[in-house]
Each structure stands twice: as structure tokens, then as C-alpha cells.
């Protein structure tokens, strides 16, 4: 695979026809300012040293690469390694990005942070770094998600953030993103918008990817140390796609490494209730970028469904759209029931309780591993821990916790 693929986006933020900058005029100047600051700081030794120190001492990196031996043996195929992003501070990969963007905010002299959140993981990770830097933090969250994720809402409040329930539209993540954009356009002078995934207007898909690529860089070193060769396959769940791109990106030029992004099929991609734009949507423009969307024939965005709030989003990062079209990565979908089974299996077999998002990646690994030889290896990104989902899982089993 040529290095041109790994070098994207181009100067205007495009991955092929995807990405770009589809925003109201007021936001162009602050996006230019952010792009310039990021280009300057990413090559600045002092900034990188500060970031590395935070990732080591505050986040707890590197995260381990764990060989799930018992589960691999039971599946009877390839060896499955888990990249343990669930062991990061705040319990998911999201903090890799919020640490980086908060440092950018500090260098830009912004005093106020805003973020959108679905499941609440990105909101918690944003509130956490804001608390540490003494910045005001406002988190927009769909009113439906506020109800579904009461634990994370309270966590954010404990961290000093203001959580604003968004009552417009479908009252979920996409509407929270709309509302965060509205806040940003109003308070653009003092406010930094920490976008939680590899979507949105340029430079966000690029800079969030760069902050998350620590996952893949570590995994590459760790698998080389453990196996002496590159893995045969990478698997990660894809909502907006930040944990997946973080794992994939350092391997893009290693063309023998297969990549599988796993979308949420909800009730099934042949039903109207799913959240799988790459598998069952088509290209369009939303939230500042051109990408695959779940939309109707008139270009209206359709409400999505997944058991996992973090995957319940009608769009996806533009780099994934590009990797799909050029065939470098494969995108598949796993439904609610399959993800739930993987959640229980990993918990019982390995003693690791995965987030329902990550359970989609695990469910696909359980399908793929048995088709592979025992000397082959798979790395699954275990993007978050499942504590936040206990209420959801218990509820499905009719148990009140």
C-alpha cells in the first residue's frame, strides 16, 4: 500500500471525496486557527514531551496487549490479543484524545471547553481533563441518552462539568453534536470544542486520529515483542471510528495486515433499526464532513439504533469511508444479540468485562478466529470497560441493580 494513503488527508482535509469542511462561515477562521496551531505543535518537542508525560503518568500508558489464551483455545483458531484500552484512566480510549485536545486548548489560550457525548465516555474524559486544567466544561448530551446513562451523567457532574440535556431532534448523540456546534459558533472567542471522534470538519478527523494512533503504535511494538511478526488481522468497533482508526492507522502501509471495522447492526442491517452507515448507508454531508450516513431518500438523517450508546450514530469518520472505498479495510456489522453474547463470553471466560461498544469487535473476532490457523494472530481493540453498561445488561435480563 502506498504511503499516499497514510499521508491523507490533503491540505484541505479531504480523504478522496470524503472529509472536508462543511460548516457555517463563522467557524472557518477558528478551524484555520486550530489547524495552524496543531501543525505547529505536533512537531514541537516541548508539546510532545508534555503529551507523552500525561499519557504515561495520568492515563497510564502504555496499555497492555493481553493474549486471551483461554478464549482463543475455546474458539479453536487464531490467537486473539486484546489491546487493553479499558485499563486507561476513565476506562476507555477516549482520554487519549481529550488529553491531547485539552493541551491544544491550553496553548490556544481558551478558557472554556465544550464536548458532545453519547454514552457519556467522551463527556467523562473531557470533564476529567477540564477538571485537571481548571477549565470550565459544558457537555451536550441528548436527553434520551441522559436518561439511559445516568451514572456517567453523575460522574461528569462530580467532575465539575455542566451537562446540558439536548431536547431537539431525536434527542441523541447527533443532536448533541448539533448543539455543541451551536454553542461553539456563539462562544467561539473563548471556547475550545473537543470533538470525541474522527469526524467533524477538518482538522478534527486528522488530529483525533493522530492522538488515537498511540494505540496502534504501541500494539505494533507489543505484537512484535510477543510474536516476532505483524498480526494477520486487526478488529475494532466503529461508531464514529476513533478507536478503530487509532489501531488501524499505524498498520495502513502493512498490506498483509487485514483490517475489520465492526459497525452496530442493532436489530440487523436488513431492518430499519441499525447504526451501520458503512454497511448499509450512503455518502452525504453531515456535521462538517462528507462521509457515509444513515439517511433517507430525501437526505434527512434517520434515527439509528444500537444496544451500545457509543455506536448509536448515523455517520462515521471520513477516513473510514475512504478506507472502505479503496478496499484497504473491511467493514462488517454485528447485531445487538451477538454483541451481548460476546460481552458475557469475555466476562466469564477471561474475567474481563468489555464495554458493549467493544463487544461488537469481540463478536466479530469470535466469527473470524475459527476460520484462521492456530499460528495466526488477531488484535482486537478492547476500547473500553463495561462497568457503565451493567444497568443496560441487567435491564435486558429483567434485573434491577
Amino acid at each position: 500500500m502506498s504511503s499516499e494513503v497514510a499521508d491523507l488527508p490533503d491540505a484541505s482535509g479531504h480523504f478522496g471525496v470524503y472529509g472536508g469542511r462543511f460548516v457555517a462561515e463563522t467557524l472557518i477562521e477558528p478551524l484555520d486557527e486550530l489547524t495552524a496551531a496543531y501543525e505547529r505543535l505536533k512537531n514541537d518537542a516541548g508539546f510532545q514531551a508534555e503529551l507523552d508525560r500525561d499519557l504515561a503518568d495520568y492515563v497510564g500508558r502504555p496499555s497492555p496487549l493481553y493474549f486471551a489464551e483461554r478464549w482463543s483455545n475455546m474458539l479453536g483458531g487464531a490467537k486473539i490479543y486484546l489491546k487493553r484500552e479499558d485499563l486507561n484512566h476513565t476506562g476507555a480510549h477516549k482520554v487519549n484524545n481529550t488529553i491531547g485536545q485539552a493541551l491544544l486548548a491550553k496553548h490556544l489560550g481558551k478558557t472554556r471547553i465544550i464536548a458532545e457525548t453519547g454514552a457519556g465516555q467522551h463527556g467523562v474524559a473531557s470533564a476529567t481533563v477540564a477538571a485537571r486544567l481548571g477549565l470550565e466544561c459544558v457537555v451536550y448530551m441528548g436527553a434520551e441518552d441522559v436518561k439511559r446513562q445516568a451514572l456517567n451523567v453523575y460522574r461528569m457532574k462530580l467532575l465539575g462539568a455542566t451537562v446540558v440535556p439536548v431536547e431537539s431532534g431525536s434527542k441523541t448523540l447527533k443532536d448533541a453534536l448539533n448543539e455543541a456546534m451551536r454553542d461553539w459558533v456563539t462562544n467561539v472567542d473563548n471556547t475550545f470544542y473537543i470533538i470525541g471522534t474522527v469526524a467533524g470538519p477538518h482538522p478534527y478527523p486528522m488530529l483525533v486520529r493522530d492522538f488515537q494512533a498511540i494505540i496502534g503504535r504501541e500494539a505494533k511494538q507489543q505484537i512484535m515483542a510477543a510474536e516476532g511478526r505483524l498480526p494477520d488481522a486487526l478488529i475494532a468497533c466503529v461508531g464514529g471510528g476513533s478507536n478503530a482508526i487509532g489501531l488501524f492507522h499505524p498498520f495502513i502501509e502493512d498490506s498483509d495486515v487485514a483490517m475489520y471495522g465492526v459497525e452496530a447492526a442493532g436489530d440487523g442491517i436488513d431492518t430499519p433499526r441499525h447504526a451501520a452507515p458503512l454497511c448499509a448507508g450512503r455518502p452525504g454531508v453531515l456535521h462538517g464532513n462528507r462521509t457515509y450516513l444513515v439517511e433517507d431518500d430525501n437526505g434527512q438523517i434517520i434515527e439509528t439504533h444500537s444496544i451500545s450508546a457509543g455506536l448509536d450514530y448515523p455517520g462515521v469518520g471520513p477516513e473510514h469511508a475512504w478506507l472502505k472505498d479503496i478496499g484497504r479495510a473491511n467493514y462488517v456489522a454485528v447485531n445487538d444479540d451477538e454483541a451481548l453474547k460476546a460481552f458475557h463470553d469475555l466476562t466469564k471466560i477471561e474475567g474481563i468485562m468489555p464495554a458493549l461498544e467493544s463487544s461488537h469487535a469481540l463478536a466479530y473476532a469470535a466469527k473470524l478466529a475459527p476460520t484462521m490457523r492456530k499460528d495466526q494472530t488477531i488484535i482486537v481493540n478492547l476500547s473500553g470497560r463495561g462497568d457503565k453498561d451493567i444497568h443496560t445488561v441487567a435491564g435486558l435480563e429483567g434485573i434491577t441493580v
Binding site: 462561515e25 477562521e29 456563539t186 454531508v285 437526505g299
Partner: protein, 283 residues
């Protein structure tokens, strides 16, 4: 000459400024829209902005968000909006109509299909909020081929260099967003607008419309004193919303607001307290 050009030329000859009301097509139901367009023209509107409903209107405040939701309850699509313009043109062949909305419905319809259908329906301009000129090349080309003006936004944050670049691409008129914020915001600063318009005029001869934050006859008058056109969105949509349950009252409510604005704009800058005399608000 295009309808937009002819309209601004006629206004200039009379030393008047353009009043451009905005309504969301299909709000609160599709039957309301075409009669309301005619009523707005009778009440003093010079151009009309017709909002294309979208599920995720990122630049709108609560008023127009809710208008989109009401219109989408009836499934008002981009093709339905074009049909409304077509119907409006049966009896009005002079008032320019500008569609305002978001990119995705146009993307899904396809640029060429949209441009052809819009030109046939009698659309004069297209303003897509989330389409800066950097991304607009292919669309602008097909629009200009059918003589539909691409209307671009300029904002308080737009640098001088970009103002020049955008004005070079623009035709019809340019639209200055008067404040940092969403539609319906309340922090309009007319002196700051005036200063920015002077900067924009150094780069273009096109008329400049100003929108966002114009709520009543007084603000319309103050903005008209410095701009070529006054765009009124949320204030009009509020009149629609207040009467959403009894749509037969919408035409009168909107007409009353526009008449007040028209009278105030034509009376010129507030020098002698005429406003208080006319409307008794004491302003």
C-alpha cells in the same frame, strides 16, 4: 437580467432597501406556504427566502429548529419545496426566491438534477449554510449554468483575504451574518455591522444583505440604514409558530410584522422619534 439583479436595481432607483423574510417551507403544514409567500410580497417583501427543512439544522436557534421539525412531520422534502416555488410562480413572475438550507438534501438529489429542477421551478438563488466556497466548486458550476445565484455567507470572523475570495465567487448578493451565533440570537451590534460592511464593500459591488438577530421594526430600520437588504428569519417564524395550531391566522400575523418593518425601513434612520409616534413603543 436575473430577477435578483432586477430587484436590487429597482430598489436602488427608488432609494429603498430590500426586505427579505424567511419562512421554513412546509411549516406548520405544506398548505400554508404558497399563500404565505404571496402575502409576504403584498406586505412589502422584495425577495423571499424559503427554508428547506433539514433534520440536523446546525446553524439554527430553537425557533427555526422547531420549524424544521414541524415541516418534517409532514415529510416536506426538497422536491416538495421546488413544487411550492413552481406553484408560487403561476401568479408571481418577478419576486426573487432564494432557497436556504443545508447541503445534504442537495447532495442526495444530485447537483445536476437539483439545478435543472430548481431552474424549471423558478428558483433564483441557493444558500447552503454548511457549504463554504472551498467545497462549493462543482455545485457553483452547475448553478451558474442555469443562472441560479450561489449566495455565500460572510461572518464577523471572516478575514479580509477570505472576504475577497468569497466575493469573487458570489453573485446575486452576499449575505453578512451579523453576529457570532445561531439564528434568532439577541446580541446584534449595528455599529460593528456597519464597520464590517465597509470592509466588505471594498471587495464587491454586489448588494449586501444582513441577517441574524433582526427581531422587529426598529432593528430592521437600523440595519437597513447600513445594509442593502435586511433578512428576517426567526422573527417571522415566531409568528408562524405562535399560530401553528390555527394556521388561518398566520398570514395576518406575518403581514403585520412585515408591514411594520417595511414602514420603518422606508422612513429612514431614526432621527426624529417618528417610531414612537407610529407604534407607540417609546423607542
Amino acid at each position: 437580467m436575473s430577477r435578483i439583479k432586477a430587484c436590487f436595481a429597482a430598489l436602488k432607483a427608488e432609494n429603498k432597501k430590500a426586505l427579505i423574510p424567511f419562512v421554513t417551507a412546509g411549516d406548520p403544514n405544506p398548505a400554508v406556504t404558497v399563500p404565505l409567500m404571496h402575502v409576504m410580497v403584498e406586505a412589502g417583501a422584495d425577495l423571499l427566502e424559503l427554508g428547506v427543512p433539514f433534520s440536523d439544522p446546525m446553524a439554527e436557534g430553537p425557533t427555526i429548529q422547531k420549524a424544521c421539525e414541524r415541516a418534517l412531520e409532514h415529510g416536506t422534502s426538497l422536491r416538495d419545496v421546488l413544487a411550492m416555488v413552481s406553484e408560487f410562480r403561476h401568479t408571481n413572475s418577478t419576486t426573487p426566491v432564494i432557497l436556504m438550507g443545508y447541503m445534504n438534501p442537495v447532495e442526495i438529489m444530485g447537483y445536476q438534477a437539483f439545478a435543472t429542477a430548481a431552474a424549471e421551478a423558478g428558483v433564483d438563488g441557493l444558500l447552503t449554510v454548511d457549504m463554504p466556497p472551498e467545497e462549493a466548486g462543482a455545485l457553483v458550476e452547475v448553478l451558474k449554468a442555469v443562472e441560479i445565484d450561489p449566495i455565500f455567507l460572510l461572518a464577523p470572523t471572516t478575514t479580509d483575504e477570505r472576504v475577497a475570495k468569497i466575493c469573487a465567487e458570489a453573485s446575486g448578493f452576499v449575505y453578512y451574518v451579523s453576529l457570532k451565533g445561531v439564528t434568532g440570537a439577541a446580541n446584534l451590534d449595528v455599529a460593528a455591522v456597519d464597520a464590517k460592511l465597509a470592509q466588505i464593500r471594498r471587495h464587491t459591488e454586489l448588494p449586501i444583505g444582513v441577517g441574524f438577530g433582526i427581531r422587529d421594526a426598529e432593528t430592521a430600520q437600523r440595519v437597513a440604514a447600513v445594509a442593502d437588504a435586511v433578512v428576517v428569519g426567526s422573527a417571522v417564524v415566531n409568528r408562524v409558530a405562535e399560530n401553528a395550531e390555527s394556521p388561518e391566522k398566520i398570514n395576518e400575523a406575518v403581514a403585520t410584522l412585515l408591514c411594520e418593518m417595511r414602514v420603518a425601513m422606508d422612513a429612514g434612520p431614526p432621527k426624529v422619534g417618528w417610531f414612537a409616534k407610529l407604534f407607540g413603543t417609546g423607542k
